[in-house]
């Protein structure tokens, strides 16, 4: 595969790189203790001491955004990992073998897709119990499986009868080997953009779930929960919503560019 760069890819790599560095930084260092409250520091507007200002408890918003972006990033990453691994496995089996298994699994898939994803996540959360990060990941991961399954199934089905797969089959390669070694690498042009889009959706889904109060629990920071807090303080501390929302936008935009770039590259290569 030729390594061609395009504008989208380059911009996406730079922006995502910056955001990732920002998030990694947040794991080790924040300018202030993200949970430290202070009566004198309430509602300070952005300044050199508090880059993004402070919130209604006098907590430094920049520190909380650093920490919260990390939480959101980890949740989104694990969600996409669950969705991509399980989804691809289902897609591979159904796409390659077809038949009854295909019908059965894909109809279940359709049924899951029929639910609005947040609603489905709500159901899972209400079964697992709210208030734990793991449950948020599990709920969102499950919700993300169908879209990956659908995308990869198409790719696997399309490659099932191409010549190099046929010849591998004739040489007696096992189905597992064919799926993993011969077909999977060739689905990457489809899979990678799907992963980037999925990642963005997961960031937004975490944000909406925490916004609805079923995601991450306070005083832990997550971008979604912070945004829901910021909403009620929109007139008192507009910088709160702007700072938090801005970081979500940058995070999603960066990965979005990356996805678009990957898609364009695969089209160019093809």
């Amino acid at each position: 595969m030729k390594h061609t760069m395009n504008g989208y890819l380059r911009a996406g790599l730079i922006l995502s790189g910056i955001m990732t560095a920002f998030i990694l930084l947040g794991f080790f260092w924040t300018p202030y203790d993200p949970a430290a409250m202070g009566e004198a520091d309430k509602f300070l507007s952005p300044s050199l001491t508090h880059l993004l200002g402070t919130d209604n408890f006098g907590r430094d918003i920049f520190s909380r955004v650093l920490q919260g972006a990390g939480t959101t990033f980890l949740i989104a990453l694990s969600t996409v990992a669950i969705g991509a691994v399980c989804g691809t496995a289902i897609g591979a089996v159904t796409g390659y073998f077809g038949g009854v298994v295909d019908e059965a699994l894909m109809r279940v898939n359709d049924a899951l897709t029929a639910f609005p994803s947040i609603l489905l996540a709500l159901v899972v959360i209400s079964i697992l119990g709210p208030g734990k990060k793991f449950n948020v990941v599990a709920a969102l991961g499950l919700v993300f499986i169908p879209s990956f399954a659908r995308v990869t199934r198409t790719a696997f089905a399309a490659l099932r009868d191409v010549n190099y797969v046929k010849s591998a089959r004739l040489m007696g390669a096992s189905p597992a080997r064919i799926l993993l070694v011969h077909i999977l690498p060739n689905t990457l042009p489809v899979l990678l953009p799907a992963i980037t889009i999925g990642f963005n959706n997961a960031v937004l889904a975490e944000a909406s779930m925490s916004f609805l109060g079923i995601g991450v629990t306070p005083p832990d920071a997550s971008l979604g929960y912070m945004l829901s807090e910021a909403q009620s303080l929109l007139t008192a501390a507009p910088w709160y919503a702007a700072g938090t929302g801005g970081v979500i936008v940058l995070l999603v935009f960066g990965v979005g560019l990356l996805g678009e770039g990957l898609q364009r590259r695969s089209r160019e290569v093809a």
Binding site: A35, A36, M37, E39, K42, N56, F57, G58, P130, G131, G213, T217, P218, P219, S232, L233, L234, T235, A236
Partner: protein, 508 residues
Amino acid sequence: MKKRLMSLLLLAGLLCAVLTGCGDGSAEETPEDRAAANAITVGIAQDLDDSLDPHKTVKAGTREVMFNVFEGLMKPTPDGDLTPAIAENYTVSEDHKTYTFTLREGVKFHNGDTVTAEDVVYSINRCAAATETGIVQVEAFSVIEAVEAVDERTVTITISEPSNEFISYLTTAVLPADYTEQDTAPVGTGPFRFVSRTAQDSIVLERFEDYWGTPAQLDKVTLKIIENADSLMMSLQSGAIDLCSHLTSTQVDQLGDDFTVAEGTMNLVQALYLNNAVAPFDDVRVRQALSYAVDKQGIIDLAFDGYGSPIGSSMYPAFGKYFDEDLTDYYEYNPEKAKELLAQAGYPDGFEMTITVPSNYKPHMDTAEVLVQQLAAVGVTATILPVEWESWVSDTYTGRQFQSTVVGVDAANMTARALLERFTSTYGSNFINYNSANYDALFQQALATYDDAEQTALYKAMERDLTENAANVYIQDLADLVAVRQGLEGVVFYPIYVLDLSGIHYTA
């Protein structure tokens, strides 16, 4: 293409919603117009959509407004007492079982009819038996044996056992007998008469000219329904409304010089309620340690901008005679002492706990966030578990499946019993599983006592018992902030959830 069209339409729809939202501000009527007409517009957060019939009303928000339209034989006063309203006076028989009420002469209903003893009998019977659908039965009326109209102006009520709390239930609204349109066109005897209600929009009240007592000072009050908190703020700032209660300190801070802020109390006992039956809170030393570790004033300053009244037991200041001020500072903020007590109880390194919070109540969530910080200082790691209100009621309150919870407990009526009976060991809603033999005994004594001073002393002893055993970590009675446009005054607060409009007036 289709998608783009859809999103354009959506955007247009959103814009419309936003713009009409702002449109509330551009009402033609200005505060000056209203001052000239001796009228005001009050912002309320919810429609009165249950029933305007006071015997069927279930929503606190409806009762709050209709308090101005209805009265009972007695009515509550701002300091937590009762005063005769439709009754001129009453006498109680020697055995405390027969109440004889003499009605005030010439009290008129809003429809012009004179209130008779028959109307009183009708109204009390209506709430005692709940024969009509939708009537909210008054539990305390179950002791009534007979209600009789002796003559036009005399009513006797006989009850089966003496109770010095019975009288406080006679605030139940008196309605004209056999008037069938209370639901939509309510008729009472209060200082304001109901004029109209436009669903989802507004309610109009006008002064009742034939009121028996001090007449209302305003000619007309329009209650504008504005459900969205941000629109409510905009309406205040733009001059569309003159008065609004139940605001937060953050909202009040944004108001500026056009408004004065009246500070009352919400009449709730906000506390970190502890499940006394579950480790580690089954140990009194741990509960006391938490009480020392929590800085009430700190919470009030940090999360409520200093608005709020610290409390030290299950009683709030508005209750006047039952409130014991000395208990407020029983546990003075002292993290060192807290650590000491924790060490004695076998937790030198603290422990982990969960705080269940009904997440729709922002003040409780905010309080919990500060609590987590304060508890961390003595080594206790607390995690907040936000739950919906329904699951709070079913799992935490009814099911008692919790470690600790931040919530506000209120009194259903103006009696100390309403706040204190709930912690007797056998009471059905003793959700903290409080179990003190001394407390139970004191309550039995209080019930059997008819003398008011003695009973008050017993109730105070119960409060002290709760405090000494640190049944809960008591925090505060939340502030109820009312924004009033400059030039208006006369807001008074009651120990119950009502908005009395009759005293509000323009100063000039």
